[in-house]
Assembly symmetry: D2
Homo-oligomer: 415 residues x 4
């Protein structure tokens, strides 16, 4: 056996019920490697972690390295840890060829004999190490400066995959099986409300990502109520949500149709352009609120309740409103700022903004996805997060149910 290239690795955690060990074994076999289990301790109690030590083997050094590099991303670490390798960026926005591309799981790098946690973790980005500060920060390629030390290769990096939640409460336990349009909508909504209440009571933050269908389907006032009750700490959206919300607040219509009774309004086709013009007239949403022109709705509640929001521009925008960040690189930065320290995200009927937000979240953030299109729900859930609940439903029927459940718990403002 001494001739066979091999390496000893270890892994800790809820190895079995969170499928971590299964995934490592799978990957080794997929890549035509072999393994021997040297040691395997299963946690005696179910909250105890398990521990496994494996000898990974392959017919060539090259294949062995390939296998190792893949299983490190799944949580395995070599017994003899090597320091992380660092290389300077050759130019602004240019990476060394062998750059390490991040997962969305909590990540540590081994430098100077100790593990440092990577800050601001996001998927598919790079890690920059600042030796003076002893800090490692996750960054998108555009923000990398010439000479910054970029983590390369796959050694000296430890990834902590998410574990299956076992709280025994809330929607995330409940929804472990796949999302489906054939789940009891009312029960699920109640559980989501319970989770939101619990999170707020723990002093944690909830962000909402919302698309214009919230307004079109007549649910704007319910989202407004949820904000008023204190359940929203940040709103991430695009131009359309704000335009339609203002149209509804000013004229009672959505794309010219009376939301209350569904009749068409006289010259109603002008209303969303008239709403845009009104915002331009005042110079922005906050001015409209300050001067008493905008007196209700989603944006109004955000403004009067000091809930920060970011409206990101997109190529299909009408206007866009002066409040919209039209440069998407800037908008991404603003989104990331709002998502710092968020514990839960509600994604309401917008694939574009939800994917953007999903890419910015660590895998331990709880995510609830509501969309009428099952393909959107599946796509958004498919990010390796352990705490995602997908609800295939009509946001116009879901939000009234949710607002109603949250109202039973009452306001959490100031929590």
């Amino acid at each position: 056996m001494e001739r066979v290239p091999s390496k000893i690795v270890e892994v800790k955690g809820h190895l079995i019920d969170s499928f971590i060990l299964s995934q490592i074994f799978d990957k080794i076999m997929d890549l035509q490697g072999d393994f021997e289990v040297i040691e395997f301790r299963i946690g005696k109690l179910k909250h105890e972690h398990s521990y496994a030590k494996l000898m990974v083997k392959a017919d060539t050094e090259d294949r062995l390295n390939r296998i190792l590099q893949e299983i490190y991303r799944l949580g395995a670490t070599p017994v003899e840890i090597e320091s992380v390798k660092l290389e300077p960026a050759p130019a602004d926005s240019v990476l060394p060829d062998d750059f390490y591309s991040t997962t969305n799981h909590p990540t540590f790098i081994y430098v100077d004999g100790k593990w440092i946690e990577v800050e601001d973790l996001m998927m598919d980005k790079v890690i920059v190490y600042y030796p003076k500060e002893g800090r490692a920060i996750c960054k998108p390629i555009r923000e990398v400066k010439k000479g910054e030390l970029i983590v390369v290769g796959e050694e000296g990096i430890k990834v902590v995959p998410p574990e299956r939640p076992r709280e025994g409460v809330g929607v995330f336990d409940f929804m472990l099986s796949k999302s489906s349009s054939e789940k009891p909508t009312s029960s699920i909504t109640r559980k989501i409300a319970e989770d939101m209440y619990r999170i707020k009571k723990q002093g944690k933050k909830i962000a909402v990502v919302a698309g214009p269908a919230v307004v079109h389907t007549g649910a704007a006032e319910y989202l407004a109520k949820i904000i008023r009750l204190g359940y929203v700490d940040a709103l991430l959206a695009g131009n359309a949500l704000a335009v339609h919300d203002v149209e509804y607040a000013l004229f009672g219509t959505s794309l010219g149709m009376n939301v209350k009774d569904g009749t068409l309004t006289y010259r109603g086709y002008r209303n969303h352009m008239a709403a845009i013009n009104e915002v331009f007239k005042y110079g922005g949403l906050k001015e409209m609120v300050r001067k008493g022109r905008l007196t209700k709705g989603i944006m109004y509640e955000c403004i009067v309740n000091n809930v920060p929001y970011v409206l990101a521009g997109s190529i299909r925008d009408d206007g866009p409103l002066p409040d919209v960040i039209t440069d998407i690189v800037e908008a991404q930065k603003a989104y990331r700022r709002l998502l710092k320290n968020v514990s839960m995200v509600l994604m309401l009927s917008t694939m574009l903004h939800s994917i953007a937000v999903g890419n910015m979240l660590s895998s331990h953030v709880k995510t609830v996805i509501v969309d009428i299109n099952p393909a959107v729900v599946t796509k958004l859930m498919d990010r390796g997060t352990a705490h995602a609940a997908g609800v295939v439903s009509d946001v116009g029927a879901f939000l009234p149910l949710l607002a109603n459940e949250l109202e039973k718990f009452g306001s959490v403002k100031g929590s």
Copy 2:
């Protein structure tokens, strides 16, 4: 001009705003014919009918006939009416080659100098004329007996296409534009409730077609309530609706999951089979109700409120229950019996049974289609009916809203 094959036809009704004349002109041009407008009177008041007399022309007799045969189906009739042609069926379930295939619009045949309305009208069937009784009846091919007189060709038949509703009230005016998942769900639901109430107050009948998603999504008790309030005069469904309804009534689960709190039940995978077994044990649903074993749910409410129902078998059935009509030809007859004189149909989350019902309805029956899949809604609306409203929504969120609105109107039992 005397050489050109031509024929004079006339058409009456709301020719323009119901698009009838547009469709006739369209068809003539599609088939490379030509036409001259000989007379055209537009109703002076908007409730008055318009009248048009056209000379249709084509380069050959054959082409002219083709054109005429197509436009007769759109409501045109020749000025000089010919009697309908009849031919005996050569064998049981075999039609004369030139049989007339029906539309779903009210249809008359011209026999012995007068127009007779065709009874039991359905789409894609044939018309049998009974000379002794002087009656014309629409029949499916399987029910045609050797020697019965079948209408052939396209002459002597008058079709009355549906006119756009102009009641100014209700969901059917409101929803004239296409169905969409971006409509205000609450307003639409309120309007559907108004229509249902109005129809019941006029002493007319409402049928419901429902799939098992009604139970899976936790809405069984809301449909039960709607039945209890008297808004349902007939229920058309399959085995699965009844099985899941009984499972929920007996065990509180749907496919083993507690509907109330979403937890999994011990040995819950057995529940739907156990529900089936329980019905077999009693010999049928009515016996279960009579003996106090089944005490709530959709089927229970049908039975205690004397609402007739038909459960049609399908190839994917578990069981099926003894109450299910397993022969689909018999099941179709039973469906047709229940649909007689129905004025409105609610189609809830079942493509299979809704298409079956759609094929049996005259185009003037009001139809509301609720499904989470927009392709299903589009397909079901695409039947040339003038009174169809499509709601792309989650039936689990829609039915609670609808039951709530109907409850405001109160019971219509005995209406």
Copy 3:
């Protein structure tokens, strides 16, 4: 520890990479039990099985039993095997209350000191034991006769869950990740063709389940070609497939539209009724072929190539054709007969018949699902089978690609 209710169970197989052990641990914890790993041997080579012996514990005997009964279904067996319990059926089509409801995994019962494999295994059915013949047969409730011995409880039953395929070839390895509309259609199709060729070369059987969209989307001749090349051993469908196939064969149209150039045909709306009438005239499809009236298409190829087919009736049928089995209980039996010993099933654009077939298949049958609706693909894949590939695609574009790939391999008739 002696006071705590406990039981020792063991499990063998690819415990880890097939997630079997993970699922068992999961279930124990879900049900608030506890466990201790007494012995755990991981197969030294990747083709070797692993072995685990666990002591399962719970606070009450009742809870322990609940846990055991659930994990037996996942492949665990008690170290001290008890004989299976049997109870006579109290009446025709009535089961003893504690009947065992089958999974779709290969299943054995322990009787008279030995394990007997259950024949004709299907999901959600019961097991009948025939002591004289020493055979155990899986049966639907309707076929159970009074006095037959039904397996009850969860003891003495061994279930063998499917293992992840590791053939390293074919579409089933390739498609382990979820189905998606964002997969390379051409590559997937090539791999499906390879699998079909390999299966036929091994002398095994392939069944096809097909809906009428195959004809509507213009792919009838490609499925006909696949049959002609010998790749189809059984066809399971409904009335609509046959009606539209005959319409296309006789008139070149599908619902009146010329499939080749998309133009509308004169009186084309009659064509599908005329096709039905033509079949009734001849008394059936086989007679039409024998007398030279039907000379091409899917049904024609089945008949001339002696490929057995079953057409199951449904409530939405037009006609239905004389060849259709209108009683769905009989149609289910006929489907089951055709599915005996099938190794692979292609499900083409029909949810109704595919679910029916899926319920009749053991979990080791390879299944390829093609549908344009991602929700249908997800639902059909969600049956715990280890060899399912979902293709979200347009069957009208997929079948020409598949026929083309199979043509490269050539005919396998007589394989």
Copy 4:
């Protein structure tokens, strides 16, 4: 009658078969008005226009004005034309309150006794009149400068709604009925190819809007071929299309999966980031092509064949590439420049960019929409354009078919 507020209007065109008159009558009745038909001439030949003169009546002046303003947008014009009203913009990006919001139909304004056609027409924008140049230009609100003369009210404006095409050829005649996943894919594709060939032979321009699914589904090389054959005059896309196209060109993968055989690549998860890094290294796509680093694919073919392209940024971008216009207001301008004088647009699997493009197109531009999601196809077709064909299909199967058909016609480069 002299007391009743009334006004005489006229309308010309294919009033009946293009449903123009029906829509006008509809609108009058919807708004509780009345009308009298004073004169009505139907074109004697089918290519002749019809003419109608109506007296529109209402119970109040206000209601009459409402009705008139709505029907002007449908093509009616008052017999006594008034000059268009103009008001200066009160500030940059701020409109006079009564601004006229444009349709997407060709539009004329009446100034100084003559009709002037509005240039650069788009939907939901405003019209700016430049008296010195005697030109009227359609502009988005952001580009309006203080003091520019904005068209207000609804008088003095003539709109020419699209007429139903009657070319008797091509996909747009063929597809007049609604889009459907149950159409013959091969025939439709052939007809689209014929239309593209005809348009190129007439020296007109075709634009393509494409999403990354083109690459994921393995169709990148087919779109590349279509560009090489000369059928694409402009490409409008986002960052993702280019990133995935470059990943596929450099590594043969799409999101790490080998497109050719579907296997996963070693460290393939890095590939799309590595592709981005490679573009940054060279400074842009054109430099990569010039220096021989990028040698195939969609972007490569655009660059070597001088096909202009615009990549618009979006909030979900990775990178984005240096070639991407990150400010969406600038990106919209760049899109509009590319769409000038385009006669046909192919929209391939991207809702975001297709909606953006749809908003910029006049209603007479032919549009083909290909998407696997029927809701996307319906939404994109629902813009009142008369020449839209929707294909519910898998772009990975559709593009090979289309490329194959176009190849039969051969190259149209230089046409």
